[in-house]
Amino acid sequence: MGDAAVEIEDAGLRFGDRTLWSGLDLQVAPGEFLAVLGPNGSGKTSLLRVLLGLQQLSAGSVRVAGNPPGRENRKVGYIPQQRALDESLTLRGVDLVGLGLDGHRWGLGVSGLRERRRRIARAISSVGAESYARSPVGRLSGGEQQRLRVAQALIGDPDVLLCDEPLASLDLTHQRVVSELIDERRRTAGTAVLFVTHEINPILEYVDRVLYLVNGHFEIGAPDEVMNSRVLSELYGTHVEVLRIGGQIHVAGAQSALCEDEVHHHVDQHVS
């Protein structure tokens, strides 16, 4: 399995005496779409932080795109949760996407400007954002911003795409557009997708496997293998009813423990 896009071996993460998860073995193949689900505080975002190299594991090892995390960030794309940008920010869509290409590099980057412009234009047209790419990003709608975020994450041709609640606070149409763009990418370019979300339904048709984290326990498998009453009841340690209605999955019971309707965390909350 040396060619897996993400390899996690016997990994554990502890904060003080609180164990978020341990004994986690997971390999994500190129082109695979993995949804990471679980209630708040179950360590979904911490897992992303580990993969980004922002958080050390307490135990075990992890490799992303063949390297220790943080080493080859060029090969890792990241899509954050949508949040309001300052309306007067001097930044256009093209600039936001361009930062995804070379914003991490030192120097002014004055050489190869024509090629840079070409790549940015291509990334923007691939998400259909041409009509507003030159507007200030702070004045765009949440859906428009997230489309640009997809272009920003994909312009560097990543092998692994890490998504942290990218659909949160988007309307249904844009949830669909953004998840379709991500799905198309992994199909055409073989990019592995790790998609942290509190709501599986918008992406259910694309998901290959699910990693479900609850209180230090987890389950990995195809959506049907994990998202059923027996497995989730076992994970939560209480009776949970999983209903399939019209191609959607609804988890009922133990609502207080689930708290699945709200998003409370950001990756950068831990760093600022």
Binding site: N73, L89, T90, D95, T173, E205, D268
Partner: protein, 295 residues
Amino acid sequence: MEKLFDFDLTARLLALDVVQTALLAAAVLGLVAGLLGPFIVMRRMSFAVHGTAELAFTGAAAALLLGVGVGIGALAGAVVAALLLGLLSRRESERDSVIGVILSFGLGLGVLLLWFYPGRASQKFGILVGQIVAVDSTDLTALLVSAVVVLAVLAVIYRPLLFSSVDPAVAVARGVPVHVLGPLFAVLVGIATALGVQIVGALLVVALMVTPAAAAARITASPWRATVLAIVFAEVAAVGGIVLSLAPGAPVSFFVTAISFAIYVGCRVVAFVRGRSARSLTEPAAPPAPVPPGR
């Protein structure tokens, strides 16, 4: 006031060495301030610039008392301030109050130091409101060296600094050392502020460091265009302010800040007019972006 338009006198004064040195100093400051300004505005550091300037004043006052160069004192004070602000205000929520705390103490200390100083009152006043014609050739050398250092460092960190200023969450994820760049940029601002203190004085340094960039941000959303405009605005204010002040012999500070303010008001008017015409053109709301058909 009719002296303001005494072009003869202005021309004669412009030929003086001391005036030319002052103009060169102002031009260098305008360039540095214009380059840093957009970052200051993006990072919401206007108040930090003001606080840094007050501590540059404290440093200059101490230097005056000790008999070392005012420029060195201002530089030391500003860099210490930048580092202090960087260290003490890690949390966004505390930043404002930490600046207020440090600023007021530094200003108080500076007033005490000046009270001890037995020399001329005009020199005391100078470090508060600027004394451009007092810039001599050693000061100018220090100014040029500092400016070159600031520009060189900025050239190296330009892209990661932009990334971490406008989009910190993704910048962190892409491996940009956001926590190093913040304090480093604060030191650059400190150096530039110290330069500004010698020219327009501690109280008015914001007029060159913040106002031109804030004006530019009103009329463009392109980061590099905003930088070019900020440099042009800062140059017009700094150099233009000195030239206008020559004939009447009035304080440079007034002219610099007045030009700066006028440019800002002008840019706001342009933005307002543009906003209105754009709205009347696009109403009703622009057509929705094309949505790919569902699978």
